[in-house]
């Protein structure tokens, strides 16, 4: 399966994501934010980092990068679009996902491993998980997810909340760690599953995340 990892100026988890995808049998390519055509790819990944320095608001400037029209098009075409950390922030700024990521309730960057609860196990991103409680790294200063209560109620009703924090590290509304759009093809999360795919770095709980996506696309699942 062909996956594009979009690298914006200031992205810094692009290679981590690339390696995770490659190790888990995707065919990833790192694609510059100047690209205007993504029609060759089955899935689009927006990585973590500090796009354009995260100046102004995280994700606010990246949203206007040339590639974003193609990302919106891919989303409209029903392709899988995944934003991780800064990628999630960009997707919310671009209006492809509801809500916004504010500064952590207790201001400051936090790097840790946290427990996530899988709220909806029947999604493109979770169907390969055997457990409903997993451990995934976080690393962010602006991970405090906010959405107004009316939208939140709709999202809850539509099962759009995919992951919640077991122990809220940043003040996110309803402990939200990852959400998808109504159609289920656009997804964003603050934690970093791509940092949890290799036993040698201490955690493999991110593997089923990527396997779920492969599985959904009907491809053979297999670890090299």
């Amino acid at each position: 399966m062909k996956a594009a990892v979009i690298t914006f100026p200031g992205s810094n988890c692009d290679l981590d994501l690339f390696h995770a995808l490659a190790d888990l049998d995707f065919e990833p390519t790192v694609v510059s934010a100047q690209t205007t055509d993504l029609s060759n790819y089955d899935a689009i990944f927006l990585p973590g980092g500090f796009s354009y320095g995260d100046y102004l608001r995280s994700g606010a400037i990246a949203r206007f990068a040339p590639v974003m029209a193609a990302v919106s098009q891919a989303a409209a075409d029903g392709k899988i679009v995944v934003g991780i950390c800064n990628g999630f922030q960009i997707l919310t700024e671009a209006g492809l996902l509801p809500g916004q990521l504010f500064g952590n309730e207790q201001p400051g960057f936090i790097c840790d491993e946290v427990d996530l609860l899988i709220d909806n196990s029947n999604t493109t991103y979770t169907n390969a998980y055997a457990d409903s409680r997993i451990k995934i790294p976080i690393a962010h200063g602006e991970g405090n997810y906010y959405v107004d209560s009316a939208t939140l109620a709709e999202m809850e009703a539509n099962h759009q909340i995919v992951f919640r924090y077991a122990d809220n590290p940043n003040g996110s509304v309803a402990n939200i760690a990852g959400v998808m759009n109504l159609a289920g093809n656009v997804f964003g999360m603050m934690p970093h599953p791509e940092r949890a795919v290799d036993a040698i770095t201490g955690n493999t709980d991110g593997q089923p995340f990527f396997k779920s996506i492969l599985q959904t696309l009907g491809m053979a699942v297999g670890r090299k």
Partner: protein, 88 residues
């Protein structure tokens, strides 16, 4: 040339965690009379425009598009003309 001074604040319905943290810090520092703190952003933008109306229009456009997140933020601005020269 014009200078736009743009003040961005959260909409009243949005909790401002930073403001609360600052207020708590000020209280610990013994500034007891403080009943609320909100933190927003302030921009100064220098721009060329044919006239005040055009400048106002442009400032509103780019502020809506980029400088604020319309879901959570709101703004006001002032415009100052920076050249008083007679037009050639």
């Amino acid at each position: 040339m014009y200078t736009a001074k743009i003040y961005v604040t959260y909409k009243p319905s949005i909790v401002d965690p930073q403001g609360e943290v600052i207020q708590a810090a000020l209280q610990r520092m013994n500034y007891q009379g403080i009943s609320s703190v909100t933190q927003g952003k302030y921009f100064e933008v220098n721009l060329a425009a044919p006239n005040v109306a055009a400048a106002k229009n442009e400032v509103a456009n780019f502020t809506d598009a980029l400088l604020i997140n319309q879901n959570t933020e709101t703004y006001r601005f002032e415009l100052v003309s920076t050249d008083d020269e007679v037009q050639a």
